[in-house]
């Protein structure tokens, strides 16, 4: 039986079989809901409705959709589009859910919750049963930083979402109080420390500021236009054994010299992380440019030597 004008003609049986799948895709459907699909034009359920329902149930069966009836309720056990997970995979879902519960409230947490609930809706019957038995992992310290700075992290998330320029004041790793205007970027994670990643247009550097060291953040009153991010290039030389094993990062380019040394051009790495990394390389590394960073490094070395009364 076809309806409507030729270009939009559709078939009742086609529609009905998919409407039936849609009902079952929810996981459970009552008999009264299902039989309504087979009511006549007046909405009356008759003996014919039952015969039709049986025919459609048989059709689903041969297509591979496993629906079982129990006490006036149809329960979906398996369908070609359902997700089947084993115990190990469900354990990972539990791990993700655990970590999610510690995320600050915000867009990301909401999106992840949607992802997980969509996934769980698509579980087949066996997976649903199994998931009730697999306890989410509780042995992991996912709370490392979140509990202590939960509200600060939430605030930082909000600044990132708003994307407005901010004035941020924080204590840097050497104990100095630093104030700067910046564009909030995203929440980042470094060695179990949650940081607010910001871009500072004045220096053309990214800064990852540990949430716990932030004194205050203010949205700039003047709603300045977002400036395009232009990063300062930091060029440094890597020598000796380190040159052989140095792994060029995604945001770096390298040039090899005749003596095997590498000239690395780094763009866009958080300046504090970069300094920490280069310091770690010891005498195998030397900053070439910009000059003021060379000076900063030199001062840092001097300051460290003072620790040894030198």
């Amino acid at each position: 039986m076809t309806k409507r004008k030729l270009s939009e003609k559709y078939n009742d049986s086609c529609i009905r079989i998919f409407e039936l799948i849609k009902l079952f895709a929810r996981g459970e459907a009552s008999f009264s809901e299902v039989i309504k699909l087979f009511a006549n034009e007046k909405g009356e359920v008759s003996q014919i409705s039952n015969v039709l329902l049986n025919k459609y149930m048989n059709t689903l069966k041969i297509y591979g959709i496993d629906v079982r009836k129990s006490k006036q309720t149809y329960v979906l056990h398996k369908m070609p589009f359902s997700v089947s997970l084993n115990e190990k995979e469900l354990y990972i879902v539990g791990l993700i859910k655990n970590a999610m519960s510690l995320m600050p409230n915000g867009k990301n947490k909401k999106s992840l919750q949607n992802f997980i609930s969509n996934l769980e809706e698509k579980y087949d019957y066996d997976t649903k049963m199994l998931s009730a038995m697999v306890a989410p992992s509780a042995n992991y310290d996912l709370a490392f930083y979140f509990k202590k700075f939960e509200h600060q992290i939430e605030d930082c998330e909000r600044y990132c979402q708003e994307g407005k320029p901010i004035e941020i004041c924080y204590i840097d790793s050497e104990g100095n109080r630093v104030k700067m205007e910046a564009q909030p970027q995203e929440i980042k994670y470094h060695d179990k420390v949650v940081c607010l990643g910001v871009y500072n247009p004045a220096s053309s550097f990214d800064f990852d500021i540990p949430v716990g060291s932030i004194i205050y953040i203010r949205t700039c009153v003047q709603n300045k236009n977002k400036s395009r991010k232009v990063y300062t290039s930091v060029v440094f030389k890597v020598k000796g054994g380190l040159a052989k094993r140095y792994k060029v990062r995604e945001w770096e380019s390298a040039e090899t010299l005749d003596d095997g040394s590498l000239i690395i051009t780094n763009k866009g790495e958080d300046i504090q992380t970069l300094f920490t990394r280069l310091f770690k390389y010891g005498e195998c590394c030397e900053i070439l440019s910009p000059k003021y960073l060379r000076k900063t490094m030199s001062k840092k070395i001097e300051k460290t030597l003072k620790n040894y009364n030198l």
Partner: protein, 314 residues
Amino acid sequence: MKHFKKNNTVTYNLISYTGFKSLLLFSLLLDAPHTFEEIQDFYRTNEYIHEEISFDTIRVYMTSLKRIGCEIARKRYPEGSRYHIVSHPFEFKVDADQIKAVTKIYKILLQSASVADLFACDTFLRDLAAKIGSKELLNIIEKMSVFNGVSSSLVKELIECSKDNRKITILYNSPQSGEKDIQLIANGLSYKDDKIYLNGISLEYSQETAYLLDRIKDISAIHEQKSAEDVEIKYTTVGYELSNLTTGAALDENEKIVEIKEDSILIEAYTSNLFMLKRKILSYGPLCTVLYPEDFRNDIISTLKKMQEEYQND
């Protein structure tokens, strides 16, 4: 279907024949793009259908599929237009925001979960992306994965060997000496500085060492069980002072706080690998001072002086 077959023909009064044909078309268009002729041919040769179906009927079926929420795309090819279902109401859709949120949670797990769990998570997300046909999710996992370029079977084997602290020989692509066999007692995988390391006790140097996972080419041999106590390792106790930390010091397993002062903490590290500890201490910069032993303290000073020389011409 066999249940509904009598004398080699389907007893159509037991099923919705049209419903069945539309389900078959649904599957066909999900698999790959097809022309009307190919769809006709599919119905003609199907063992249960064996029927000539007109283009008009196929159009009606397609309109019905669209009506229930399928998005059918048409692409022109030299042999004619091909039709393909690009989305349907039953699929598990992952939008851009959800993908971004998955990357966030991956980063959190990187900092907190064990490498074994991280690997299982990585595998799970890849499998899920493949299962639901989300290229976007797969692309983002491949981009952020810390296991890129390493075979899954190798990671699995290393995790297993580490569980039992097995003595193994690995084929390692050393930056200094090229590919070579290294014997070690595997202690576990760890994540540090955006990289995965295999931690173990090197039997050549009798010290704790970390090997970059992406430089391990293979496990050449798994030997008999050997415990760390069987290897003579030279440990050194290093004391250092860490001052004014605002972000919280991440103590390693072999470290302990021995004293907390007003502006600093005194830490004692018990290590067999002074090279790794030296790098850690240098990374703290002016925040850290080595207190003992004298020779290690002198080594740090000597390195700092060499570093200073590089900047002296300015």
